[in-house]
Subunit: 395 residues, 2 copies
């Protein structure tokens, strides 16, 4: 003994984490993070709300609470999601979690035995992949195209791995690629889930951050068999430091998730839940979302315009309709060298390898975040990236 | 598939949870919970602190933060615990968690393979036992006497279970018995941990709530081999709704715990951490602790005095020096009947069975909480319990 468990022995802190430490230096321009824009935080409103809570309901905010979450917040979400077809009052339940990440962790715990397969888009969000790894799941990556996950390869992977716990998908403005899964592809994925009788986790942290194009129906709103587990969060729309997300699923799944939550965090910070509830009900939340979309749409456009103008045309970029990320792909050469050169020039970007199931696979892509840097940093950072790129690739 | 994982299939919501739902009725006197006294919450101070945070450092409170926890809070704790011999600057690390419960969950995840044994005092805290169960650990209960866990039986259990992940102990004012482990017993437990080379989790949620007698050195302060993992919390000393606890262990253990925390809650609510840090540093925290000890000492004394005066002398009670709980033991008869009769008379108590590894074992004890009820509720509740008891047992 005194060794670590099998599930945790090989788990390492994420590679991005190490890059993010570097980005805390003041003279570094970071396109590496995934933080929401701090100028979008409702500071004055949260202050007013806190005073209201402490004047009128302090004991609720400070005492132990129920594991399911703050009832008024749960009820608001159930109503809102029922209107979007994501919550069904007869069959479903909804609980509040410490961010959407906890949904990944709890779903793995509840659904996945050690050694079971979990299928994900490749590339995908490293935080979720590490949640799955932390339960000793066999991660299987399926490649994507511009419409989303490759359906033939997904079918083949499911056929060859009958002990698959679930398929993990980020259909809207995917992290890291910024891609949105097409309606047709969503329907095909659902058909495959039914064919093989496997759960889907639909992770939708960025769904409210669409700044162009039309919403595509969520997988869960089209699910007729209760196989889609849905994760949402207020981290990108209110504030991530509060750690408030939520999980929607068929009742039996949620009842087991409640057990898992009860033995971990007991309940999500009740003060945080009350702040979120009051912000979305007592203030003009639609106007707040509109403001955030404006900020992100502007920053994305600024970065894309600069990239197209300044970078060698052989380097390709996705053009997201929302979310936080652009995905760049080099035509050839050594990605690690490109990232290293950028970091030497104090522009931090994340190598695409960090988002692969097998980080040793070749990868010619990199992720750019536009939500955190200021406008002048976006322009200057792209200038520097372009200089680095032009020293390697022809314009 | 579509079944649940092996580890979670048999996990049920705790029995106490069901009793606690009953206690939310206004005319029920509850000795069943474990909530801190709401009159001890520093409401005005927390309000002042929130305003200060939102005026002077709002972005830190609302943005993503590091998984390890808020650095000023970690530093304060390291200093404080180093003074008590619990933290060693050379060998140890400390991280902030969403309450001490998350320490149990993460330690299980990091240390315990499915099927490994975890040894605990019997009875013990149901929330921790369920954390261990949620990783499919084989729970092994070792009986206690007034000095703590039975050393011979612990030795025997360790000898017969070489795949033991750790020994779980609550040395101070144990939940549910209110007992404090003697110094001699603590030394013997450490010797056994060294002999068999197994970790100990020292869970100390009530350590700051001593209202009589002298502190006994913590296991971790006497540990020379880095085998004691220590869990603390502000749930009983500041406010549980904030969800702020901490974990101290040897550096390699903490580095794995950081991975586990990162893939679950990402980080503990940073607003909660900042509130706790400002409260313990900018206000008179020792005076606040003294006040809480006064409240709990008074309530414990009131309950014990009433129990001794009114209950049949054949029913025995522990006499705790701190914490939240008194443990009563019937001389004979049917415990379930006694609890049922009390609940019929609208006094909620918890059957001792809820704290056993095997809830089907016979148990003649029950747990009483004195921190949550008001003085008049304590007197009236004991009156009713005494009437119920006298209808069954001779005075």
């Amino acid at each position: 003994m005194n060794a670590f468990s099998d599930r945790i022995r090989r788990l390492q802190p994420s590679a991005i984490r190490e890059i993010l430490k570097f980005t805390s230096y003041p003279d570094v321009i970071s396109f590496a993070g995934g933080n929401p824009a701090p100028e979008a935080f409702p500071v004055q409103e949260v202050k007013e709300i806190m005073n209201d809570i402490m004047d009128n309901d302090p004991i609720t905010a400070l005492q132990y609470s129920v594991s399911e979450g703050y009832t008024p917040l749960r009820d608001w979400l159930k109503d809102d999601l029922a209107n979007k077809g994501i919550f069904n009052w007869n069959n479903d339940d909804l609980i509040i979690t410490a961010g959407a990440q906890q949904v990944m962790e709890m779903t793995s715990k509840v659904i996945c035995n050690e050694g079971d397969a979990i299928i994900c888009e490749e590339p995908s969000f490293i935080g979720s992949l590490n949640s799955f790894r932390s339960y000793n799941a066999r991660l299987l990556g399926v490649p994507m195209d511009d419409e989303g996950i490759d359906i033939e390869k997904l079918d083949e992977t499911l056929r060859n791995n009958r002990r698959t716990a679930f398929i993990y998908l980020i259909p809207n403005f995917q992290n890291p690629t910024g891609r949105t899964m097409s309606l047709e592809r969503r329907k095909q994925v659902l058909e495959l889930a039914y064919k093989y009788n496997v759960y889907i986790i639909e992770d939708n942290p960025y769904g409210d951050l669409r700044f162009s194009g039309d919403d595509v129906p969520s997988l869960r709103s089209m699910d007729t068999k209760g196989l889609v587990i849905y994760a949402g969060t207020f981290s990108k729309t209110v504030a991530p430091g509060l750690r408030v997300g939520y999980m929607v699923a068929e009742k039996s799944v949620i009842s087991k998730a409640i057990c898992a939550l009860q033995v971990s965090t007991v309940h999500t910070s009740i003060l945080s839940q009350m702040i979120v509830h009051r912000f979305i009900t007592k203030y003009d939340y639609p106007a707040h979302l509109e403001k955030i979309r404006g900020i992100y749409g502007h920053k994305c456009d600024l970065m894309l315009t600069n990239l197209k103008l300044k970078m060698p045309s052989s380097i390709k970029f996705t053009e997201p309709d929302g979310g936080l990320f652009i995905w760049g792909t080099l035509p050839s050469g050594d990605m690690d060298y490109f990232v290293k050169k950028a970091i030497e020039r104090k522009v931090a970007i994340v190598t695409g390898k960090a988002f692969l199931v097998d980080e040793n696979k070749p990868c010619m892509s990199f992720r750019l975040n536009y939500s955190t840097p200021r406008d002048d940093q976006i322009e200057k950072g792209v200038d520097i990236l372009a200089e680095v790129a032009k020293s390697i690739y022809k314009a």
